[in-house]
């Protein structure tokens, strides 16, 4: 038997996380795409009974998740396309959005507890730390965004029956 090749440790070209989006508007050279229901919530077998569905899920926030893209492929209204973001972009994005505010929050809390030792003051320091962290996260998210690390890229047009093929 051939030993299976190990692709998971090859980080030279991070694979893309693919998703399917539909063209909902064409404005000159820019198309607006709306992601189709993604696998995490919509494909779940209990989605019809799921209590989390009403609280800002993919189902009712699809409209808010629309995103623009350059129309280099001459896409038309209603067309389905496969878009992708780099796999490590997701890790970078979650580190930016969550790790930075958490670190500033905890550092502020530990410093305040060490200096004063009062719960109320620690709490205030943590809230201040969280706000500072969010500002820092905002700045670094902008930087990531201008480098194009977060924007989905056009991969190909979707076939007629193609759906997300995430197990």
């Amino acid at each position: 038997m051939m030993p299976s090749e190990d692709h998971s440790t090859d980080f030279s070209a991070p694979p893309m996380v693919e998703g399917i989006a539909r063209v909902v508007a064409v404005e000159g050279s820019v198309v607006w795409l709306e992601p189709e229901q993604t696998s995490t919530c919509g494909a779940c077998s209990s989605s019809s009974m799921c209590g989390a569905k009403g609280i800002g899920t993919a189902a009712n926030s699809l409209e808010r998740r629309r995103f623009p893209m350059d129309n280099q492929e001459k896409l038309t209204l209603g067309e389905r396309v496969v878009v992708g973001v780099r796999e490590n972009a997701l890790v970078k994005a979650s580190l930016t959005a969550y790790a930075i505010p958490l670190i500033t929050l905890l550092v502020a809390g530990i410093v305040a507890q060490g200096m004063v030792g009062n719960d109320a003051i620690t709490m205030l320091a943590m809230v201040a730390g969280l706000v500072i962290g969010l500002i820092v996260a905002r700045i670094s998210a902008k930087r990531l965004s201008t480098r194009g690390d977060l924007a989905p890229q056009f991969l190909r047009r979707a076939h007629a029956g193609e759906t997300c093929h995430i197990e």
Binding site: I55, G56, S94, Y98, L106, D119
Partner: protein
Amino acid sequence: MGEYVLLMVSAALVNNVILARFLGLCSFMGVTTRVDTAVGMGMATTFVITVSSMADWAVETYLLQPYGLGYLRTVTFILVIAAAVQFTEMTVRKVSPPLFQMLGIYLPLITTNCAVLGVALLLVEGKMNFIEATLFGFASSLGYSLVMVIFSGLRERLALAEVPRLFAGPPIGFIVASLLALAFMGFSGMQTN
């Protein structure tokens, strides 16, 4: 400082949320098919658990205990957690719309994650002060993320392995999870020292 480190190691490894307390098993099996989704879910859960631990501690100390409303604890905590998730969703959207497009999908799933409520109830039992409660929440969720990432890595390998047809998919996943839980039991030896 030493006691904080001990508290965090105990919460993250010895009493791991998933493998020792068996909380949050639905997301543990559900979103661990890929490492990147596990990281996204783990980080989002870490943030929500830490923020909701802080809020739950404040609600417990300043509202429920003084007015003898302990019987409302579960309901109140669920409300606080839902609010924390909404707060996180709003903040991420405000901080960066592109980030929200990538990460927003994981947030609603956390509302129904029992690990969040479990950690909140455990920190009330532990009679901790504010900083300890926050660090306990943070470390517990870090342990949760660690297990999620390890398990998703294992499942990515499993997807390539030849598994007997009867065991393919979730069954072999559960077997691997049990082996992982056994491995984490090794950390409980640290408790007596």
